[in-house]
Symmetry: C2
Subunit: 158 residues, 2 copies
């Protein structure tokens, strides 16, 4: 199984009880990330069906996990979603994402939501920009440090 993010991500964070808590597997598929999911009632759009925004969330997550399999951390720059058929709630679905093209830091991925029988219900393509995760985390840590120092100063003033 792919390692789950230890954070609070709405899509895949195991610590976010309000999120989708998606768990992806590679199942020997190389750079293809696979997830089996049944979407609960709270994510409803049209009666009995998954909200279009949640469909986009599932597809974005699957493409993001394909980046992880390619060994990169990347931000979504653009995403195009093709809503082929309504996606039913509370139904076993297959979610799959994979890379299709790369040009330097630009990675184009695609993802699908399918019924177990194979029918494709929604599809997306996305452009992702690889980022230097260590540099970003260091910047966030520095920012947090600054905030902590400011908070200490505020406490002293009181």
């Amino acid at each position: 199984m792919l390692p789950a993010r230890s954070n609070h991500c709405f899509g895949c964070g195991p610590s976010n009880r309000d999120g989708l808590r998606l768990r992806f597997y590679d199942e020997g598929l190389g750079d293809r990330a696979l997830c089996r999911v049944s979407v609960p009632k709270r994510f409803e759009g049209p009666p009995g069906h998954v909200h279009g925004g949640i469909i986009a969330t599932l597809l974005d997550e699957a493409m993001g996990k394909a980046n992880k399999l390619a060994g990169i951390v990347a931000m979504t720059r653009t995403m195009e979603v093709d809503y082929l058929r309504p996606v039913p709630l509370l139904t076993p679905l297959i979610l799959e994402g994979w890379g299709v093209r790369r040009e330097g830091r630009k990675h184009w991925n695609t993802a699908e939501i399918r019924r177990e029988g194979g029918e494709v219900l929604a599809r997306a393509t996305g452009l992702f920009i690889a980022i230097d995760a260590e540099r970003i985390l260091a910047a966030l840590a520095a920012q947090n440090g600054e905030q902590a120092t400011k908070a200490k100063r505020r406490t002293k003033r009181k």
Copy 2:
């Protein structure tokens, strides 16, 4: 204020306590639907920021409400999201959707998420297909009727 959907929609249903419960206003803007929103922590993607799928949800909802202002009920057929800058959590944001073109049952809309100062953080365009809501609701009602009849039969068998 635009009438809120009385259903369980993840985006705008007032009865869905787990949803975004977006409330749109037209504020004399004609066919432009406007919403002020601050996204709670449970919809996190990158640390401190809104998940890309929730950004898509906000934009989809705003474009959907523009359809409502145009007097139609429509399904999202395709949506393209442009993630311009990270969208912060717990920050006052402006969400706006409007129609741009129409060809028969096809409606092209656009939507933006902006900071209060005007900076655009994300933008989407979508193609929506107008549907005959009464016909769809009648079909759903018939389907529910069938399910109710089947359930009664199952109950009698027990």
